[in-house]
Protein backbone atom coordinates (compact mmCIF):
# COMPACT_ATOMS: atom_id res chain seq x y z
CA UNK A 1 0.00 0.00 0.00
CA UNK A 2 1.18 3.50 -0.83
CA UNK A 3 0.10 6.16 1.64
CA UNK A 4 0.16 9.93 1.27
CA UNK A 5 0.07 11.33 4.77
CA UNK A 6 -0.88 15.02 4.83
CA UNK A 7 1.53 15.81 1.99
CA UNK A 8 2.17 19.41 0.97
CA UNK A 9 4.36 20.62 -1.87
CA UNK A 10 5.05 24.31 -2.20
CA UNK A 11 7.35 25.56 -4.94
CA UNK A 12 9.36 28.66 -4.12
CA UNK A 13 7.50 31.48 -5.83
CA UNK A 14 5.26 29.02 -7.68
CA UNK A 15 2.47 28.55 -5.21
CA UNK A 16 1.06 25.33 -3.81
CA UNK A 17 1.29 22.28 -6.06
CA UNK A 18 -0.10 19.76 -3.57
CA UNK A 19 -2.31 20.89 -0.71
CA UNK A 20 -2.55 18.59 2.33
CA UNK A 21 -3.01 15.38 0.40
CA UNK A 22 -3.95 12.26 2.32
CA UNK A 23 -4.61 9.25 0.13
CA UNK A 24 -4.19 5.50 0.20
CA UNK A 25 -3.36 3.47 -2.89
CA UNK A 26 -4.37 -0.13 -2.21
CA UNK A 27 -1.95 -2.99 -2.84
CA UNK A 28 -2.45 -4.92 -6.05
CA UNK A 29 -4.84 -2.32 -7.45
CA UNK A 30 -4.63 0.43 -10.04
CA UNK A 31 -5.18 3.89 -8.63
CA UNK A 32 -5.53 6.66 -11.19
CA UNK A 33 -4.83 10.28 -10.30
CA UNK A 34 -6.76 12.50 -12.66
CA UNK A 35 -7.51 16.20 -12.97
CA UNK A 36 -6.95 19.31 -15.05
CA UNK A 37 -3.38 20.49 -15.66
CA UNK A 38 -1.83 22.19 -12.67
CA UNK A 39 -3.79 20.10 -10.18
CA UNK A 40 -0.71 18.49 -8.63
CA UNK A 41 -1.36 14.95 -9.84
CA UNK A 42 2.04 14.51 -11.49
CA UNK A 43 3.84 16.15 -8.59
CA UNK A 44 2.11 13.73 -6.22
CA UNK A 45 3.00 10.76 -8.41
CA UNK A 46 6.67 11.70 -8.51
CA UNK A 47 6.86 11.83 -4.75
CA UNK A 48 6.36 8.05 -4.66
CA UNK A 49 9.78 7.36 -6.17
CA UNK A 50 11.32 10.53 -4.73
CA UNK A 51 11.75 12.32 -8.04
CA UNK A 52 10.19 15.16 -6.01
CA UNK A 53 10.36 15.60 -2.24
CA UNK A 54 7.36 16.86 -0.27
CA UNK A 55 7.64 20.19 1.54
CA UNK A 56 5.88 18.56 4.49
CA UNK A 57 4.07 15.34 5.19
CA UNK A 58 5.15 11.81 4.37
CA UNK A 59 4.83 9.30 1.57
CA UNK A 60 4.91 5.71 2.81
CA UNK A 61 5.23 2.39 1.05
CA UNK A 62 3.90 -0.43 3.22
CA UNK A 63 4.34 1.82 6.23
CA UNK A 64 7.93 2.81 5.43
CA UNK A 65 8.64 6.49 4.80
CA UNK A 66 10.30 6.70 1.36
CA UNK A 67 12.37 9.66 2.60
CA UNK A 68 14.37 7.24 4.73
CA UNK A 69 15.38 5.02 1.81
CA UNK A 70 18.29 5.22 -0.58
CA UNK A 71 16.93 7.02 -3.66
CA UNK A 72 18.48 4.77 -6.30
CA UNK A 73 17.62 1.52 -4.50
CA UNK A 74 14.05 2.71 -3.93
CA UNK A 75 13.62 3.55 -7.62
CA UNK A 76 14.91 0.17 -8.76
CA UNK A 77 12.02 -1.39 -6.83
CA UNK A 78 9.46 0.86 -8.55
CA UNK A 79 8.68 0.41 -12.24
CA UNK A 80 8.42 3.72 -14.06
CA UNK A 81 6.65 4.48 -17.34
CA UNK A 82 6.40 7.96 -18.85
CA UNK A 83 4.73 9.68 -21.73
CA UNK A 84 6.72 9.15 -24.98
CA UNK A 85 8.30 6.17 -23.16
CA UNK A 86 11.64 7.99 -22.56
CA UNK A 87 13.56 5.05 -24.00
CA UNK A 88 17.34 5.20 -24.24
CA UNK A 89 17.99 6.00 -27.92
CA UNK A 90 21.48 4.45 -27.88
CA UNK A 91 20.34 1.04 -26.68
CA UNK A 92 18.52 -1.70 -28.51
CA UNK A 93 15.00 -2.58 -27.43
CA UNK A 94 16.36 -5.63 -25.62
CA UNK A 95 18.97 -3.65 -23.69
CA UNK A 96 16.43 -0.96 -22.83
CA UNK A 97 14.28 -3.63 -21.20
CA UNK A 98 17.33 -5.15 -19.47
CA UNK A 99 18.23 -1.81 -17.83
CA UNK A 100 17.02 -2.27 -14.27
CA UNK A 101 18.00 -5.95 -13.92
CA UNK A 102 21.52 -4.92 -15.00
CA UNK A 103 21.53 -2.13 -12.41
CA UNK A 104 20.52 -4.72 -9.83
CA UNK A 105 23.64 -6.68 -10.74
CA UNK A 106 22.22 -9.45 -12.87
CA UNK A 107 24.45 -10.70 -15.68
CA UNK A 108 23.90 -9.24 -19.13
CA UNK A 109 23.08 -12.68 -20.45
CA UNK A 110 20.42 -13.35 -17.83
CA UNK A 111 18.96 -9.85 -18.15
CA UNK A 112 18.68 -10.21 -21.93
CA UNK A 113 17.06 -13.63 -21.73
CA UNK A 114 14.47 -12.27 -19.29
CA UNK A 115 13.97 -9.18 -21.45
CA UNK A 116 13.12 -11.33 -24.44
CA UNK A 117 10.33 -13.01 -22.46
CA UNK A 118 9.00 -9.63 -21.38
CA UNK A 119 8.81 -8.34 -24.94
CA UNK A 120 6.51 -11.20 -25.72
CA UNK A 121 4.43 -10.36 -22.64
CA UNK A 122 3.76 -6.86 -23.91
CA UNK A 123 2.88 -8.12 -27.38
CA UNK A 124 6.13 -7.51 -29.27
CA UNK A 125 7.79 -10.29 -31.25
CA UNK A 126 11.46 -11.20 -30.84
CA UNK A 127 12.14 -9.41 -34.16
CA UNK A 128 12.06 -6.15 -32.25
CA UNK A 129 14.82 -7.12 -29.82
CA UNK A 130 17.73 -5.86 -31.93
CA UNK A 131 16.06 -2.66 -33.10
CA UNK A 132 16.67 0.82 -31.76
CA UNK A 133 13.85 2.98 -30.34
CA UNK A 134 13.98 5.32 -33.36
CA UNK A 135 12.90 2.37 -35.52
CA UNK A 136 9.65 1.87 -33.57
CA UNK A 137 6.24 3.52 -33.77
CA UNK A 138 4.94 5.47 -30.78
CA UNK A 139 2.75 2.58 -29.66
CA UNK A 140 5.59 0.08 -29.93
CA UNK A 141 7.88 2.39 -27.96
CA UNK A 142 5.26 2.61 -25.23
CA UNK A 143 5.07 -1.21 -25.06
CA UNK A 144 8.85 -1.33 -24.67
CA UNK A 145 8.50 1.31 -21.95
CA UNK A 146 6.06 -0.92 -20.09
CA UNK A 147 8.31 -3.98 -20.55
CA UNK A 148 11.27 -2.00 -19.23
CA UNK A 149 9.30 -0.95 -16.16
CA UNK A 150 8.25 -4.56 -15.53
CA UNK A 151 11.72 -6.04 -16.08
CA UNK A 152 12.81 -6.32 -12.47
CA UNK A 153 9.33 -7.50 -11.45
CA UNK A 154 8.75 -4.53 -9.14
CA UNK A 155 5.74 -4.73 -6.81
CA UNK A 156 4.90 -1.10 -7.59
CA UNK A 157 4.49 0.67 -10.92
CA UNK A 158 4.36 4.43 -11.37
CA UNK A 159 2.93 5.52 -14.71
CA UNK A 160 2.93 9.16 -15.80
CA UNK A 161 0.47 9.67 -18.67
CA UNK A 162 1.67 6.41 -20.22
CA UNK A 163 -0.83 6.27 -23.06
CA UNK A 164 -1.47 9.90 -23.93
CA UNK A 165 1.09 10.31 -26.72
CA UNK A 166 -0.42 7.73 -29.06
CA UNK A 167 -3.43 7.91 -31.35
CA UNK A 168 -6.85 6.71 -30.13
CA UNK A 169 -6.80 3.36 -31.92
CA UNK A 170 -3.37 2.44 -30.64
CA UNK A 171 -4.37 3.68 -27.19
CA UNK A 172 -7.40 1.40 -27.24
CA UNK A 173 -5.10 -1.56 -27.92
CA UNK A 174 -2.67 -0.53 -25.18
CA UNK A 175 -5.58 -0.21 -22.72
CA UNK A 176 -6.73 -3.75 -23.45
CA UNK A 177 -3.18 -5.00 -23.06
CA UNK A 178 -2.77 -3.09 -19.82
CA UNK A 179 -5.93 -4.54 -18.30
CA UNK A 180 -4.94 -8.06 -19.35
CA UNK A 181 -1.42 -7.65 -17.93
CA UNK A 182 -2.65 -6.17 -14.68
CA UNK A 183 -5.12 -9.01 -14.25
CA UNK A 184 -2.17 -11.44 -14.48
CA UNK A 185 0.35 -9.45 -12.47
CA UNK A 186 -1.67 -7.63 -9.82
CA UNK A 187 0.84 -4.80 -9.34
CA UNK A 188 0.22 -1.83 -7.11
CA UNK A 189 -0.11 0.84 -9.77
CA UNK A 190 -0.21 4.61 -9.47
CA UNK A 191 -1.12 6.23 -12.78
CA UNK A 192 -1.59 9.83 -13.82
CA UNK A 193 -3.80 10.92 -16.69
CA UNK A 194 -5.77 14.00 -17.67
CA UNK A 195 -8.31 11.82 -19.43
CA UNK A 196 -11.25 10.91 -17.20
CA UNK A 197 -12.44 8.19 -19.58
CA UNK A 198 -9.05 6.52 -19.34
CA UNK A 199 -9.17 6.84 -15.55
CA UNK A 200 -12.59 5.22 -15.36
CA UNK A 201 -11.60 2.47 -17.73
CA UNK A 202 -8.29 1.52 -16.13
CA UNK A 203 -8.66 2.50 -12.49
CA UNK A 204 -9.87 0.33 -9.62
CA UNK A 205 -9.72 3.53 -7.61
CA UNK A 206 -9.84 7.03 -9.10
CA UNK A 207 -8.64 10.15 -7.29
CA UNK A 208 -9.87 13.39 -8.85
CA UNK A 209 -7.77 16.47 -8.18
CA UNK A 210 -8.78 20.07 -8.66
CA UNK A 211 -6.63 23.13 -9.36
CA UNK A 212 -4.32 24.08 -6.50
CA UNK A 213 -3.45 20.51 -5.59
CA UNK A 214 -6.62 19.71 -3.67
CA UNK A 215 -8.08 16.22 -3.73
CA UNK A 216 -11.71 16.57 -4.81
CA UNK A 217 -12.92 12.98 -4.46
CA UNK A 218 -11.60 9.43 -4.22
CA UNK A 219 -13.64 6.39 -5.05
CA UNK A 220 -14.30 3.57 -7.43
CA UNK A 221 -15.20 4.71 -10.93
CA UNK A 222 -18.80 3.74 -10.18
CA UNK A 223 -18.96 5.86 -7.03
CA UNK A 224 -17.59 8.86 -8.90
CA UNK A 225 -20.13 8.51 -11.71
CA UNK A 226 -23.13 7.79 -9.49
CA UNK A 227 -22.36 9.97 -6.49
CA UNK A 228 -20.07 12.85 -7.45
CA UNK A 229 -19.12 14.77 -4.31
CA UNK A 230 -19.69 18.20 -5.82
CA UNK A 231 -20.24 20.28 -8.96
CA UNK A 232 -16.58 20.12 -9.95
CA UNK A 233 -16.48 16.31 -9.91
CA UNK A 234 -19.86 16.03 -11.65
CA UNK A 235 -18.65 18.41 -14.35
CA UNK A 236 -15.30 16.66 -14.63
CA UNK A 237 -16.67 13.15 -15.04
CA UNK A 238 -18.93 14.50 -17.77
CA UNK A 239 -22.59 15.11 -18.58
CA UNK A 240 -23.14 11.55 -19.78
CA UNK A 241 -22.00 10.05 -16.50
CA UNK A 242 -25.43 8.47 -15.96
CA UNK A 243 -25.24 6.55 -19.18
CA UNK A 244 -21.63 5.63 -18.56
CA UNK A 245 -22.36 4.30 -15.10
CA UNK A 246 -24.42 1.60 -16.84
CA UNK A 247 -21.06 0.08 -17.82
CA UNK A 248 -20.69 -1.19 -14.28
CA UNK A 249 -23.87 -3.31 -14.29
CA UNK A 250 -24.18 -6.54 -16.20
CA UNK A 251 -27.32 -7.62 -17.97
CA UNK A 252 -27.59 -10.61 -15.61
CA UNK A 253 -30.39 -8.99 -13.60
CA UNK A 254 -32.23 -7.65 -16.64
CA UNK A 255 -35.47 -9.59 -17.27
CA UNK A 256 -36.13 -10.56 -20.90
CA UNK A 257 -39.36 -11.32 -22.75
CA UNK A 258 -39.86 -14.55 -24.63
CA UNK A 259 -38.66 -14.50 -28.22
CA UNK A 260 -42.31 -15.01 -29.35
CA UNK A 261 -42.97 -11.38 -28.36
CA UNK A 262 -40.70 -10.24 -31.19
CA UNK A 263 -42.47 -11.47 -34.33
CA UNK A 264 -40.05 -9.58 -36.58
CA UNK A 265 -37.01 -11.50 -35.33
CA UNK A 266 -35.62 -14.03 -37.80
CA UNK A 267 -34.02 -17.19 -36.43
CA UNK A 268 -31.92 -19.72 -38.30
CA UNK A 269 -32.49 -23.50 -38.04
CA UNK A 270 -30.39 -23.75 -34.90
CA UNK A 271 -32.46 -21.03 -33.19
CA UNK A 272 -29.76 -18.33 -33.52
CA UNK A 273 -30.83 -14.76 -34.34
CA UNK A 274 -30.25 -14.00 -38.04
CA UNK A 275 -31.67 -10.51 -38.38
CA UNK A 276 -34.93 -8.57 -38.47
CA UNK A 277 -37.74 -8.99 -40.97
CA UNK A 278 -37.67 -5.20 -41.40
CA UNK A 279 -34.01 -5.33 -42.52
CA UNK A 280 -31.16 -3.38 -40.96
CA UNK A 281 -28.58 -6.14 -40.84
CA UNK A 282 -27.77 -8.64 -38.09
CA UNK A 283 -29.73 -8.56 -34.84
CA UNK A 284 -27.83 -6.96 -31.93
CA UNK A 285 -27.12 -9.72 -29.45
CA UNK A 286 -25.77 -9.75 -25.90
CA UNK A 287 -25.05 -12.29 -23.17
CA UNK A 288 -25.87 -11.87 -19.49
CA UNK A 289 -22.20 -11.01 -18.87
CA UNK A 290 -22.38 -7.90 -21.08
CA UNK A 291 -22.94 -4.46 -19.59
CA UNK A 292 -26.23 -2.64 -19.39
CA UNK A 293 -24.62 0.11 -21.38
CA UNK A 294 -24.06 -2.23 -24.31
CA UNK A 295 -27.63 -3.51 -24.15
CA UNK A 296 -28.95 0.05 -24.12
CA UNK A 297 -26.83 0.89 -27.09
CA UNK A 298 -28.08 -2.19 -28.96
CA UNK A 299 -31.75 -1.33 -28.43
CA UNK A 300 -31.12 2.20 -29.69
CA UNK A 301 -29.40 1.06 -32.89
CA UNK A 302 -31.73 -1.87 -33.56
CA UNK A 303 -34.39 -1.24 -36.25
CA UNK A 304 -36.89 -3.09 -34.05
CA UNK A 305 -35.91 -1.19 -30.89
CA UNK A 306 -34.96 -4.48 -29.33
CA UNK A 307 -31.79 -6.38 -28.39
CA UNK A 308 -31.58 -10.16 -28.27
CA UNK A 309 -30.07 -12.09 -25.39
CA UNK A 310 -28.27 -15.26 -26.49
CA UNK A 311 -26.99 -18.17 -24.47
CA UNK A 312 -23.49 -19.66 -24.58
CA UNK A 313 -24.59 -21.76 -27.59
CA UNK A 314 -25.64 -18.63 -29.51
CA UNK A 315 -29.35 -19.50 -29.36
CA UNK A 316 -31.80 -16.67 -28.74
CA UNK A 317 -33.08 -16.71 -25.15
CA UNK A 318 -35.20 -13.58 -25.11
CA UNK A 319 -35.56 -9.95 -26.14
CA UNK A 320 -35.53 -6.57 -24.40
CA UNK A 321 -36.77 -3.17 -25.56
CA UNK A 322 -36.01 0.44 -24.47
CA UNK A 323 -39.00 0.24 -22.18
CA UNK A 324 -37.74 -2.89 -20.44
CA UNK A 325 -34.41 -1.18 -19.71
CA UNK A 326 -36.16 1.94 -18.45
CA UNK A 327 -38.38 -0.17 -16.16
CA UNK A 328 -35.32 -2.04 -14.95
CA UNK A 329 -33.54 1.21 -14.10
CA UNK A 330 -36.57 2.47 -12.18
CA UNK A 331 -36.73 -0.75 -10.15
CA UNK A 332 -32.99 -0.62 -9.61
CA UNK A 333 -33.23 2.91 -8.20
CA UNK A 334 -36.13 1.98 -5.92
CA UNK A 335 -34.29 -0.97 -4.43
CA UNK A 336 -31.17 1.10 -3.69
Amino acid sequence: MITFDDVVKVYPGGGTAVDHLSLELPTGRTTVLVGPSGCGKTTSLRMINRMISPTSGRVLIDGQDVAGEDEALLRRRIGYVIQHAGLFPHRTVLDNVATVPMLLGRTRRQARTDALGLLERVGLSADFAKRYPAQLSGGQQQRVGVARALAADPPIMVMDEPFSAVDPIVREGLHREFLRLQQDLGKTIAMVTHDIDEAIKLGDVVAIFRQGGVLAQVGTPRELLEQPADEFVAEFVGRDRGLRSLSFDTAAGLPVRPVSEAPDLLLDDAGRPAGWRTGGGAAGTFTSADSLRLVTDLTITSPAGMAVRVGPDGKAEGVVSHHDIADHLVRRRETK
Partner: protein, 216 residues
Protein backbone atom coordinates in the same frame (compact mmCIF):
# COMPACT_ATOMS: atom_id res chain seq x y z
CA UNK B 1 58.88 16.24 -56.33
CA UNK B 2 59.66 12.55 -56.76
CA UNK B 3 63.38 13.26 -56.72
CA UNK B 4 62.94 15.50 -53.67
CA UNK B 5 61.10 12.72 -51.87
CA UNK B 6 63.62 10.03 -52.80
CA UNK B 7 66.52 12.23 -51.60
CA UNK B 8 64.83 13.44 -48.41
CA UNK B 9 62.49 10.55 -47.66
CA UNK B 10 63.79 10.01 -44.15
CA UNK B 11 63.55 13.67 -43.22
CA UNK B 12 60.00 13.95 -44.60
CA UNK B 13 58.95 10.82 -42.76
CA UNK B 14 60.44 12.13 -39.51
CA UNK B 15 58.61 15.44 -40.02
CA UNK B 16 55.36 13.56 -40.66
CA UNK B 17 55.81 11.45 -37.55
CA UNK B 18 56.49 14.54 -35.47
CA UNK B 19 53.48 16.25 -36.99
CA UNK B 20 51.18 13.36 -36.06
CA UNK B 21 52.49 13.25 -32.51
CA UNK B 22 52.32 17.02 -32.01
CA UNK B 23 48.77 17.19 -33.34
CA UNK B 24 47.19 14.08 -31.83
CA UNK B 25 48.69 13.91 -28.35
CA UNK B 26 47.03 17.25 -27.50
CA UNK B 27 43.73 15.92 -28.92
CA UNK B 28 43.86 12.95 -26.54
CA UNK B 29 44.91 14.96 -23.48
CA UNK B 30 42.49 17.77 -24.35
CA UNK B 31 39.61 15.36 -24.78
CA UNK B 32 40.22 13.73 -21.40
CA UNK B 33 40.41 17.16 -19.74
CA UNK B 34 37.40 18.54 -21.60
CA UNK B 35 35.06 15.78 -20.37
CA UNK B 36 35.01 16.77 -16.69
CA UNK B 37 35.22 20.49 -17.49
CA UNK B 38 32.29 20.32 -19.92
CA UNK B 39 30.32 18.22 -17.43
CA UNK B 40 30.79 20.86 -14.74
CA UNK B 41 29.28 23.42 -17.11
CA UNK B 42 26.10 21.32 -17.22
CA UNK B 43 26.07 20.09 -13.63
CA UNK B 44 26.24 23.69 -12.37
CA UNK B 45 24.25 25.79 -14.83
CA UNK B 46 25.70 29.07 -13.51
CA UNK B 47 29.10 27.84 -14.74
CA UNK B 48 27.97 27.36 -18.33
CA UNK B 49 28.29 30.94 -19.58
CA UNK B 50 31.64 31.67 -17.87
CA UNK B 51 32.84 28.38 -19.35
CA UNK B 52 31.74 29.24 -22.88
CA UNK B 53 33.25 32.72 -22.61
CA UNK B 54 36.56 31.46 -21.26
CA UNK B 55 36.75 28.84 -23.99
CA UNK B 56 36.05 31.44 -26.67
CA UNK B 57 38.71 33.73 -25.22
CA UNK B 58 41.35 30.99 -25.03
CA UNK B 59 40.65 29.94 -28.58
CA UNK B 60 41.09 33.48 -29.83
CA UNK B 61 44.70 33.75 -28.58
CA UNK B 62 46.91 33.70 -31.70
CA UNK B 63 48.84 30.42 -31.82
CA UNK B 64 52.21 31.99 -32.51
CA UNK B 65 51.84 34.27 -29.49
CA UNK B 66 51.01 31.25 -27.35
CA UNK B 67 53.99 29.28 -28.66
CA UNK B 68 56.33 32.13 -27.80
CA UNK B 69 54.69 32.99 -24.49
CA UNK B 70 54.45 29.46 -23.05
CA UNK B 71 58.20 28.94 -22.48
CA UNK B 72 58.14 32.04 -20.26
CA UNK B 73 55.18 30.66 -18.33
CA UNK B 74 56.28 27.02 -18.15
CA UNK B 75 60.02 27.52 -17.93
CA UNK B 76 60.53 25.28 -20.94
CA UNK B 77 63.12 25.84 -23.63
CA UNK B 78 61.85 27.86 -26.58
CA UNK B 79 62.54 24.94 -28.94
CA UNK B 80 60.84 22.32 -26.75
CA UNK B 81 57.99 20.41 -28.46
CA UNK B 82 56.26 20.58 -25.09
CA UNK B 83 55.28 24.19 -25.88
CA UNK B 84 53.39 23.05 -28.94
CA UNK B 85 51.73 20.19 -27.07
CA UNK B 86 50.59 22.44 -24.23
CA UNK B 87 49.38 25.17 -26.59
CA UNK B 88 47.38 22.77 -28.75
CA UNK B 89 45.99 21.07 -25.63
CA UNK B 90 44.66 24.44 -24.52
CA UNK B 91 42.97 24.94 -27.90
CA UNK B 92 41.55 21.44 -27.82
CA UNK B 93 40.12 21.91 -24.33
CA UNK B 94 38.71 25.29 -25.36
CA UNK B 95 36.93 23.66 -28.31
CA UNK B 96 35.85 20.42 -26.69
CA UNK B 97 34.80 21.59 -23.21
CA UNK B 98 32.07 23.62 -24.80
CA UNK B 99 31.17 20.79 -27.18
CA UNK B 100 30.91 18.33 -24.28
CA UNK B 101 28.70 20.77 -22.37
CA UNK B 102 26.48 21.37 -25.41
CA UNK B 103 26.38 17.64 -26.15
CA UNK B 104 25.23 16.82 -22.64
CA UNK B 105 22.69 19.64 -22.79
CA UNK B 106 21.32 18.20 -26.04
CA UNK B 107 20.29 14.95 -24.32
CA UNK B 108 16.48 14.75 -24.17
CA UNK B 109 15.45 15.65 -20.57
CA UNK B 110 12.92 12.79 -20.73
CA UNK B 111 15.77 10.34 -21.27
CA UNK B 112 17.69 11.72 -18.29
CA UNK B 113 14.52 11.71 -16.22
CA UNK B 114 13.69 8.13 -17.04
CA UNK B 115 17.29 7.06 -16.32
CA UNK B 116 17.01 8.68 -12.90
CA UNK B 117 13.68 7.02 -12.27
CA UNK B 118 15.12 3.61 -13.26
CA UNK B 119 17.54 3.99 -10.36
CA UNK B 120 20.74 5.25 -11.98
CA UNK B 121 23.04 7.15 -9.67
CA UNK B 122 24.52 10.35 -11.03
CA UNK B 123 27.94 9.09 -12.17
CA UNK B 124 26.70 5.92 -13.80
CA UNK B 125 23.88 7.83 -15.47
CA UNK B 126 26.56 10.11 -16.95
CA UNK B 127 28.77 7.28 -18.23
CA UNK B 128 26.01 4.87 -19.29
CA UNK B 129 23.34 7.20 -20.63
CA UNK B 130 24.20 10.89 -20.97
CA UNK B 131 27.68 10.62 -22.52
CA UNK B 132 26.76 7.88 -25.01
CA UNK B 133 23.69 9.83 -26.11
CA UNK B 134 25.77 13.02 -26.40
CA UNK B 135 28.49 11.21 -28.35
CA UNK B 136 27.44 12.30 -31.88
CA UNK B 137 27.73 15.98 -30.85
CA UNK B 138 31.01 15.37 -29.03
CA UNK B 139 32.50 13.47 -31.95
CA UNK B 140 31.63 16.32 -34.31
CA UNK B 141 33.62 18.63 -32.03
CA UNK B 142 36.46 16.12 -31.92
CA UNK B 143 36.69 16.20 -35.73
CA UNK B 144 36.98 20.00 -35.73
CA UNK B 145 39.61 19.96 -32.98
CA UNK B 146 41.68 17.28 -34.69
CA UNK B 147 41.73 18.96 -38.09
CA UNK B 148 42.43 22.35 -36.51
CA UNK B 149 45.35 20.89 -34.55
CA UNK B 150 46.85 19.28 -37.62
CA UNK B 151 46.90 22.64 -39.40
CA UNK B 152 48.11 24.54 -36.32
CA UNK B 153 51.18 22.33 -35.79
CA UNK B 154 52.75 23.84 -38.92
CA UNK B 155 52.82 27.26 -37.29
CA UNK B 156 55.25 25.79 -34.77
CA UNK B 157 57.85 25.64 -37.53
CA UNK B 158 58.32 29.39 -37.07
CA UNK B 159 59.78 28.66 -33.66
CA UNK B 160 61.65 25.59 -34.85
CA UNK B 161 59.28 22.70 -34.03
CA UNK B 162 56.51 22.19 -36.49
CA UNK B 163 56.44 18.74 -38.05
CA UNK B 164 55.56 19.17 -41.72
CA UNK B 165 55.67 22.94 -41.21
CA UNK B 166 59.46 22.65 -41.25
CA UNK B 167 59.17 21.71 -44.90
CA UNK B 168 57.53 25.08 -45.54
CA UNK B 169 60.19 27.08 -43.73
CA UNK B 170 62.95 25.11 -45.46
CA UNK B 171 61.35 25.67 -48.85
CA UNK B 172 61.00 29.41 -48.27
CA UNK B 173 64.56 29.72 -47.07
CA UNK B 174 65.92 27.89 -50.10
CA UNK B 175 63.44 29.33 -52.63
CA UNK B 176 62.58 25.74 -53.34
CA UNK B 177 58.94 24.78 -54.05
CA UNK B 178 59.13 20.99 -53.72
CA UNK B 179 59.24 20.74 -49.92
CA UNK B 180 56.40 23.27 -49.67
CA UNK B 181 54.23 21.18 -52.00
CA UNK B 182 55.05 17.95 -50.20
CA UNK B 183 54.27 19.63 -46.87
CA UNK B 184 50.93 20.93 -48.03
CA UNK B 185 49.85 17.66 -49.63
CA UNK B 186 50.90 15.59 -46.64
CA UNK B 187 49.17 17.80 -44.08
CA UNK B 188 45.95 17.86 -46.10
CA UNK B 189 46.08 14.07 -46.48
CA UNK B 190 46.81 13.69 -42.79
CA UNK B 191 43.87 15.90 -41.85
CA UNK B 192 41.55 14.02 -44.21
CA UNK B 193 42.73 10.63 -42.90
CA UNK B 194 42.32 11.64 -39.26
CA UNK B 195 38.85 13.01 -39.98
CA UNK B 196 37.88 9.79 -41.76
CA UNK B 197 39.13 7.65 -38.89
CA UNK B 198 36.98 9.61 -36.42
CA UNK B 199 33.93 9.35 -38.68
CA UNK B 200 34.35 5.58 -39.06
CA UNK B 201 35.02 5.15 -35.36
CA UNK B 202 31.94 7.23 -34.62
CA UNK B 203 29.79 5.00 -36.82
CA UNK B 204 31.11 1.98 -34.98
CA UNK B 205 30.33 3.30 -31.51
CA UNK B 206 27.01 5.02 -32.35
CA UNK B 207 25.22 2.48 -34.58
CA UNK B 208 21.86 3.85 -33.42
CA UNK B 209 22.32 7.25 -35.09
CA UNK B 210 21.70 5.69 -38.50
CA UNK B 211 18.03 5.27 -37.64
CA UNK B 212 17.45 8.67 -36.07
CA UNK B 213 14.68 10.55 -37.80
CA UNK B 214 13.73 7.45 -39.79
CA UNK B 215 10.61 5.97 -38.16
CA UNK B 216 8.51 7.25 -35.22
Amino acid sequence: MITYLSNNGDAVLAALRQHIALALIPVLIGFVLALPIGYLGVRFPWLYHPLVNTCGMLYSIPSLALFVFLPVLLGTKILSPLNIVVALTIYTVALLARTVADGLKSVDPLVVQSATAMGYRRLRRLTDVELPVALPVILAGLRVATVANISLVSVGALIGVGGLGQLFTRGFQLFYVEPILVGIILSVLLAAAADLVIVLLGRLVTPWTRFQGAAS
